[in-house]
C-alpha cells in the first residue's frame, strides 16, 4: 500500500473518524450522565421497543454495524495483502460468534437465547447461523463448521474437544487460529507496513499470551507445557522461551518477578490477573493512539484506529448496559478502569 493518493485518502478518513474515539474523560462524562441523556448521546434512545434486553442487543449490533461501516470505508482504497489483513481482523466478530455458539451448546441454551448473543455480520464475513444454531451439541456444531471456511479451525477444535471437552481449550484453539492467520497475513505485507503492523499485533499477542498463560497456569492449574502449546506465536517480547521461563515459576508472584524487560510497567505488574490485563490493555491503547497519528504506515494507523474504536464501542456498550440495569457507578468505574480505581 504505497500510492500517495491512497495514503492521503486513509489519513483524511482517519482524521475525520478520529473524532469518534472516546477518551477516558469522555467515558467519565458519559458515566455521570442521567440515563435519559446517556441514551440520547449514545444513540440508545433511537432503538425502538419496550424490552430492554432486546433493545440492548439491537444497540450492540448497531454499534458493531458502525464499526463495520467504518471498516468498509477504510477498506475502499486497499487491495491485496493489506485488504486481506483488515478483512481478517473484522472476522474476529465471527470468531466471537463461534465462541458464543459453542458456549450456548455446552450450556444447552435454547436457540433463541444463543441467537441473541450473535452479531449479524455482512455476507462476506458471515456464516450460516441458522445451520449452526440448529445443531444438537458441540460436536455436531463443529462438524457443521468443518463445511465452512473455518474448516481448519473446526477440525482442530473438534479433535481437542473429543479428547477433553473443556470450553476454555476450545476458546484457546479459536484464538490461536485467529491470531495465527492474522500474523500469517501480516507477513505477506511489504516494507514499512509489515514492520509496523507486526509491531502492533505483537503487542496484542503479548497481552493475550501473558494474561491467558497466567490464568491457565495459576488459576486453572494447567501444566506449563500445555499452556505453552496454547500460546500464540508472534509476540513482540514474550517469545516461547521467555514464556516457558515464566511458566516454570512456582507461583504467580514468582512468575511476575521473572517477567522479561520490555513489557509495560517496567516489570512491575500488579499481582491480580484482571489488573495485569488492564495494564496490558492500557499500554496497547496508548501505543495504538500513537501509531494512529504518527505511524509511517497508513495501514498500521488504520488498524490502530480499528483497535481503539473497538475498545471505545465496547466501553460505550458497557456503560449503557450497566446504566440500563442500574449497576452501581463505582462498580462500573472499576470495570472500565480497574487500575485507576485500585490506585484510588
Amino acid at each position: 500500500m504505497s500510492r500517495f493518493t491512497d495514503q492521503a485518502y486513509l489519513r483524511t478518513r482517519l482524521a475525520i473518524m478520529g473524532r469518534n474515539l472516546l477518551s477516558r474523560e469522555d467515558l467519565d462524562e458519559l458515566i455521570e450522565l442521567p440515563l435519559e441523556e446517556l441514551a440520547a448521546v449514545s444513540g440508545f434512545d433511537a432503538v425502538p421497543g419496550d424490552n430492554n434486553a432486546i433493545r440492548l442487543a439491537t444497540f450492540e449490533r448497531t454499534l458493531m454495524q458502525t464499526w463495520l461501516d467504518e471498516l468498509s470505508a477504510l477498506l475502499r482504497p486497499l487491495e491485496g495483502p493489506a485488504r486481506r489483513l483488515l478483512t481478517h481482523w473484522a472476522s474476529r466478530y465471527e470468531v466471537l460468534n463461534i465462541k458464543a455458539l459453542v458456549r450456548g451448546k455446552i450450556g444447552q441454551l435454547p436457540i433463541d437465547e444463543i441467537e441473541k448473543s450473535l452479531f449479524r455480520l455482512p455476507g462476506f464475513l458471515s456464516l450460516n447461523h441458522d445451520q449452526l444454531l440448529n445443531t444438537d451439541n458441540v460436536v455436531e456444531l463443529l462438524r457443521q463448521l468443518q463445511k465452512t471456511p473455518y474448516q481448519r479451525l473446526a477440525t482442530q477444535a473438534l479433535r481437542r474437544y473429543e479428547e477433553r471437552p473443556d470450553p476454555f481449550l476450545l476458546d484457546a484453539t479459536l484464538d490461536q487460529q485467529f491470531y495465527g492467520d492474522l500474523i500469517d497475513r501480516s507477513h505477506h505485507l511489504s516494507g514499512t507496513d509489515r514492520t509496523e503492523v507486526l509491531s502492533l499485533i505483537g503487542r496484542i499477542v503479548d497481552g493475550h499470551n501473558l494474561v491467558w498463560s497466567l490464568r491457565y497456569r495459576y488459576n486453572y492449574g494447567l501444566q506449563a507445557g500445555e499452556v505453552l502449546y496454547l500460546a500464540i506465536d508472534g509476540g513482540r517480547v514474550l517469545d516461547r522461551a521467555r514464556l516457558q521461563e515464566l511458566l516454570h515459576a512456582e507461583s504467580l508472584a514468582d512468575a511476575l518477578r521473572s517477567l522479561p524487560p520490555g513489557l509495560p510497567g517496567g516489570g512491575q505488574l500488579p499481582q491480580q490477573i484482571t489488573l495485569i490485563e488492564a495494564v496490558m490493555r492500557q499500554d496497547l491503547f496508548a501505543y495504538a493512539e500513537r501509531a494512529m497519528r504518527y505511524s509511517p504506515s497508513a495501514l498500521t494507523s488504520v488498524l490502530s484506529y480499528l483497535v481503539l474504536r473497538y475498545g471505545g464501542i465496547n466501553a460505550l456498550y458497557a456503560i449503557v448496559h450497566a446504566r440500563v440495569y442500574g449497576l452501581d457507578e463505582e462498580l462500573l468505574q472499576w470495570a472500565l478502569d480497574p487500575l485507576q480505581q485500585e490506585a484510588a
Binding site: 492521503a8 483524511t12 475525520i16 481449550l169 501444566q223 507445557g225 502449546y229 516461547r240
Partner: protein
Amino acid sequence: MRAGADMRHITLKLMREDLPRAGLVLAELEAFAPDERPLLDSELPEIPGTAFRARIRRAWGYLDRLLALLDAPLTTQVPAAQPLQREELVAIEQWLEQAWNECGPSEDALHRLEDDFRELRHLEESLNDFADLDVDLSRLQAGEGLLDIRIGSIPADNLARLRDVLALSNHLILDVSDDGETLRIVIAGSRENASVLDSVLLAAAYQALEIPDSFDDNPEALRIELQTRRQTLERQCHDLRDSLKDWWESNREQLLHARALLEAAEPYAHLRGAARSRGILGVLQGWAPESRLAEVETRLTQKLSQPFLLESRRPRADERHLVPVPVKNKGILQPFSTLVQQYGVPRFGEFDPTLLFAVTFAGMFGMMFGDVGHGAVILLTGILLRRRLHSFTYLFVLAGASAMLFGWLYGSVFGVEHWLQPLWIAPMSDPIYMLTVALGWGVAFLTLGSTIAIINRLLADDQAAALFGPGGVLPLILYFALLGGLISLAQGHGFPVVASAVIVLTLVALIAYQWHSSDAPYGERVMITVIETYEIINGYATSSLSFLRVAAFSLNHVALSLAVFTLADTMGAVGHWIVIILGNVFVIVLEGFIVAIQTLRLEYYEGFSRYFYGDGKPFRPLRVGRGQTY
C-alpha cells in the same frame, strides 16, 4: 432515467387471518419488498408470527439435517399454493423432530465408524512403517525403562508448534509420516517428564496408536485381525446405510410434502416487522413498483377471503435512502445493467446510468475497433453463441454493430483500407485530428458526467458536494477556464485574463471549502487541503488525457493490421493466407478483448466514479420458497 422512480410505499390493511395468504400472494407476484420500520407500532403494536417463525426455523433445521444425512436431495417440486396453518406446522415440526430422533443416532454412528476406519488405516500404515525394524513397539508403548516413547498421530498443522514446545522439555519427534491432513509421529523423551508430555499432547490433539498384542510375535495373526476388523466396520457401515435408505424410501413422499409446505410458509415468515397486528386487524407495509399495483390489487381481490384496503404513496424525502431500486433491466440493456451492478446499485432517485453506459460503451468500442469485417465477426459470434452468452449476446451484437459502423466511417474491412471508401476519415491519414476528436469526446464525456454528478448531489440534498465536491459546479468552472485558456494559448492568443481570474477565484473558493471542512491538526489540514485541491485539478487533467486512448486504439488497430499484412507478404501463397487468417483472429480476440477492457475502464473510472453513488438498495421482492434468510 431516475432509478426507482416507479417505486411506491404501500400499506395493505386487512384482517389478521389473511396475513399468511396475502404474504403468499405477494410472494407469487414478486412485486413487493417488505419494509420493517416500526411506522405503525403505536396503533398496531404486535408483530404476528413470532412463534410461527421459530417453529418454521426448527422444522427447516430438522429437514436440512435429515436430507444431508440421507444424502438424497429432494429434486421433485411439489406445488403448495395454500398458506400453512398453525396446526399443520405443529404437526410437520413434530413429525420432522421424530424423524430426526429416529435417524440422528445413525449420523453419530457413521461418524464413529469413520473415526474407526481412520484409526484402522493409521494402524495399518504405522505397522507397515515399522515392519522392517527389529523393535518391539508394544513394549515401547507399554512404558518400560527410562525412555518414554509414544506413537500416534496429530493434525499436520500442529507439527511445527509441537516440535518447538517439546524441544523445550527435551522431547524429540523422531519420525514423521505424511497422511494428508494427519501426520503419524514417534515421540521420544525422558520418562521423568511424562506428565508434561501428556498435557502438551492433549493440547496438540494427539491420538495414541493402539498396538495390538499380536504385532510382534505373530504378524500373520495380526494381518487377519486387522482384516477382520475392517470387514466388521464395512459391514456395520453398509447396514447403517441400508437402514437409512429404507427409511428414505418409505418416507420420501412425506418429506416432499413437508418441504413444499415449509416453502409456502416462507413468505409469511420472512415478513417479520413488515406485518403488524392488533386484535383481528393486520397491516402489511413495504415497497412495490407503481406499474404492478393494479395486478397486486386484482390478485389480492381474487385470493383474500376478507375485505382489504391497499394504499400507496410516493416515498418521502426522509425515506429516499431506504427505497429499494429495481436493478434488473430486460432486453438489450440487461448485460449493461449487470455491468453497472458490478460497480454498484443506483440510489433511489439517482440518475440510472445503464442507458448512457450502453450507448457510450458501444460508441467508444466502435471508435477504437472500427472495422466492418472484424465487427461482423464479433456480431456473428454473439449470435452463434447466444445459448452460452445469454443476455451478453446483446453486448456482442451491439459492440459488433458499432465496430461495423465505425469501420464504414473509417473505410476498413479486415484491416484492408482500400476496399471501401471511408465515409469520414481513415485514422492513419490524420492521427492528430483523431487525437483531437478523442480529446473533444473526453471533454464532452467528463462534462456530461459532472453535470449528472451535480444533479445527483442536488437530488440527494448535498448542496456543498454539488458546488465544491469533485465534479461539482466550481471544479467544472475551473476545468472550463483551464481548458479555454489552454486552447487560446495553443492558438497563439495567449492565456486570457478572464480565464486566469476565474481560475484564481474558483481555486480560492475550493481551498477555503477544503480548509473549512477539515478539522485535523494544522499541519495535516494544510496537507489535506493542498492534496484535495490538487486532486481536483489533476483529476480533470488526467481524465481528459485518458480519452486519448480512444484515438490511440483506432490507430493501433490499423497498425496491427498492417503488421499482419507485412508479415503475410513475406510468406508463400499458403503461408500468406494462414498468416492473414491467424493474424485476423489474433486481432479480433486480443485487441477486441483489450479494447473492451479499456472501454469499461473509461466508463467506470472516468464516468461512474464522477457521478454515480452506487450505494442504493437493490429491490429484493418477497418470493415463494427458500433462500430468504431471517
